[in-house]
């Protein structure tokens, strides 16, 4: 078996000969790893996933899943992967149980085996008591759990999750996180997920890749990424309007000082230790400190640092926007 569960080398997708959606992307996902794929709307996340799950053909470059080439051995790839799409794809007129059996049929799994597995999976996602209810009576959370069960019917080695907790309430999201952790722990599954919730990526993912404008900007563990920002941010305000940049820069651990609207943003490792030092140094020089705050970097800061602050809705493709709007409208009823 190959060393990496997923490996992409120079993976590229160009639409209509000019629109570069994914631009020579390289990354690898190890066996049993939860890999997070983050990026603004239109960054190339969905296109990358669609290539990996063999829905789209790469324009250039290659990728493999469990050693199977996604272009040349797509049949083997399809048997080894599972997909939990962002949309609710279950049929409303069918029951939860029937929906799982339908998924099983798409893999050609015999009825005998699929019936047993469907019941096991319904148990796993805690839908057993609703198994004979039509899906149209399900809540959003139940539907998402059903999607998860469908994605697991072929016992995939690699599971793709596209925004697995989009639009879920806090309880269901917590439960979903638990399922995801269990899949990794109990079945040694490799999980590839996209999300817009950075605390989710932080809590679940072993490693994260941030993609923007079709290119991977950075890959690393959540801790590595947070450390890459250069530590904590201490915000200091003083009474008088004098420049203290030079003074603060001399203090131990301080890496960077920026003045913004009369307050100073000081970057430093181990902010808890540096902050008292700063106050002391300022007092000695006769400055009165009027405000002080300490911020530990979260993935939010990491994300904004790498992708900038401008909004991307305009770049999102019309199709996925329409689909999202439609999905939302449907569940309002």
């Amino acid at each position: 078996m190959s060393e990496d569960a997923i490996k992409a080398e120079g993976l590229t997708k160009v639409f209509n000969g000019s629109l570069v959606a994914v631009d020579h992307v390289n990354f690898s996902v190890k066996h049993g790893e939860i890999f997070g794929f983050l990026g603004p709307n239109g960054a190339g996340k969905t296109t990358t996933i669609n290539m990996l799950i063999t829905i789209l053909k790469p324009t250039d470059g290659k990728a493999s899943i469990l050693g199977y080439d996604i272009a040349k051995q797509n049949h083997e790839v399809r048997y080894s992967i599972g997909l939990v799409p962002q949309e609710y794809t279950a049929d409303e007129d069918l029951t939860g149980y029937e929906n799982i059996l339908l998924c099983a049929d798409l893999y050609g799994i015999s009825r005998e085996v699929s019936k047993k597995r469907a019941l096991e999976l319904l148990e796993l996602v805690e839908l057993t008591e609703f198994k004979d209810k039509k899906v149209q009576t399900f809540s959003g959370g139940m539907r998402r759990r059903l999607e998860l069960a469908c994605g697991l019917i072929n016992r995939p080695k690699v599971l793709f999750l596209d925004e697995p907790t989009l639009g879920l309430d806090v309880q269901t999201r917590a439960a979903t996180w638990n399922y995801i952790k269990r899949l990794k722990k109990e079945f040694g599954m490799t999980l590839f997920m996209t999300t817009h919730y950075l605390e989710e990526a932080d809590a679940l993912c072993d490693r994260i890749a941030i993609i923007d404008h079709g290119k991977i900007i950075v890959v690393g563990t959540p801790t590595e990424l947070k450390d890459s920002l250069g530590g904590d941010i201490i915000t200091v305000g003083i009474q008088k309007d004098v420049d203290i940049t030079g003074l603060v820069k001399k203090i131990e651990h301080v890496k960077e000082v920026k003045k913004e609207n009369g307050t100073y943003m000081i970057k430093s490792e181990n902010g808890e230790i540096t902050a008292p030092l700063i106050i002391e140094a300022l007092r000695k020089e006769g400055h009165v400190v009027t405000r002080l705050s300490l911020t530990k970097p979260t993935l939010n800061e990491v994300y904004l640092q790498y992708t900038g602050r401008s909004m991307r809705d305009a770049e999102e493709s019309g199709e996925s926007l329409a689909a999202k709007r439609f999905t939302r409208a449907r569940f309002r009823h």
Partner: protein, 303 residues
């Protein structure tokens, strides 16, 4: 891989599952199911009677002026009535191939229902795409051709079922089988329906698969719907149409389907060379459009 032992390697796996998925949306939703059964009753009951062209030439629509009638004995009047009714039947027979207009129209209705069923089946591909089901299915080992063909097959099966229902409903409304009818002919009718559905459904799927909005297919269907229905022999025989309309109706595959089914169901004699021509025309139509449809859909799915 050990995992592959419990799965089928057939290229056609999933075909019945996907076809049945389409059918279940219909027979498992009682409202939809009942409405699809009521629709032909309304068509036949309302249009079949309102447009009852047969009554125009029946003897009951002829009354003799009183001064004329007084010159005949009741016996002679009876003979005259019989004569006119006979002439009327002959006109109907030569125009519609049967003396019962409702029978003529019922067969039109069968083809018409097939047209609608294939249109809606074509539209369902837009839903599948928008709801993410298409992507989901494409990520599984099920063959691309099976995904498309399941839609075609479900449309064909639905049409056949609806054809049977229309015939059953039409019987109490006055439907008369022709002298040449034998139960075997029903199979011939199903063959016609299967072929026409194959062609139309493939065409509509190829049109719709690229669309993400419902509005586009609706507009296309509305545009095609009228000419396909009225420039055909659904309500009126082609021979009595103006020349330009005849030209259109004569290439319309629905005309061939209807005329073929009428031969099998309501005509007093079957012209086998005509029947062979009708099968050939509909068959070639199906083969060409299915090829085009599958090639176009295939190219889209293998972007």
């Amino acid at each position: 891989m050990s995992k592959m032992n419990d799965v089928s390697k057939s290229k056609l796996h999933g075909l019945w599952a996907l076809t049945n998925r389409e059918l279940k949306k219909w027979y498992k939703a009682p409202t939809v199911f009942i409405l699809t059964l009521i629709q032909p009753v309304i068509w036949l009951g309302l249009l079949g009677n309102a447009l009852n062209l047969g009554s125009l030439v029946s003897s009951s629509s002829i009354t003799f002026p009183a001064d004329l009638a007084s010159q005949f004995t009741p016996q002679q009047l009876g003979i005259l009535n019989d004569f006119f009714s006979n002439v009327g039947d002959q006109i109907l027979q030569s125009t519609f191939g049967t003396t019962s207009y409702i029978s003529f129209m019922a067969v039109g209705m069968i083809a018409f229902t097939a047209l609608f069923t294939t249109m809606f089946s074509g539209m369902s591909v837009v839903w599948d795409r928008r709801l993410g089901f298409l992507n989901k299915a494409l990520s599984t080992p099920v063959s691309r051709a099976v995904i498309i063909f399941s839609k075609v097959l479900s449309a064909a099966l639905r049409s056949m079922f609806q054809a049977a229902i229309i015939l059953i409903i039409a019987l109490p409304l006055g439907f008369q089988f022709g002298d040449a009818f034998t139960p075997i002919n029903i199979l011939g009718v199903f063959a016609f329906l299967f072929l026409i559905c194959l062609g139309l459904s493939s065409l509509f799927i190829a049109i719709n698969i690229r669309s993400t909005r419902m509005e586009t297919p609706m507009a296309v269907m509305n545009l095609l719907n009228l000419p396909l229905t009225f420039a055909s022999s659904a309500f009126f025989p082609i021979e009595r149409m103006p020349d330009w309309l005849q030209a259109v109706a004569n290439v319309n595959p629905l005309s061939y389907t209807m005329n073929g089914m009428r031969q099998l169901l309501i005509n007093s004699t079957i012209d086998y060379s005509q029947l062979a021509l009708q099968y050939a025309y509909v068959g070639i139509f199906a083969a060409v459009l299915t090829t085009i449809g599958i090639v176009l859909s295939w190219r889209f799915l293998n972007k």
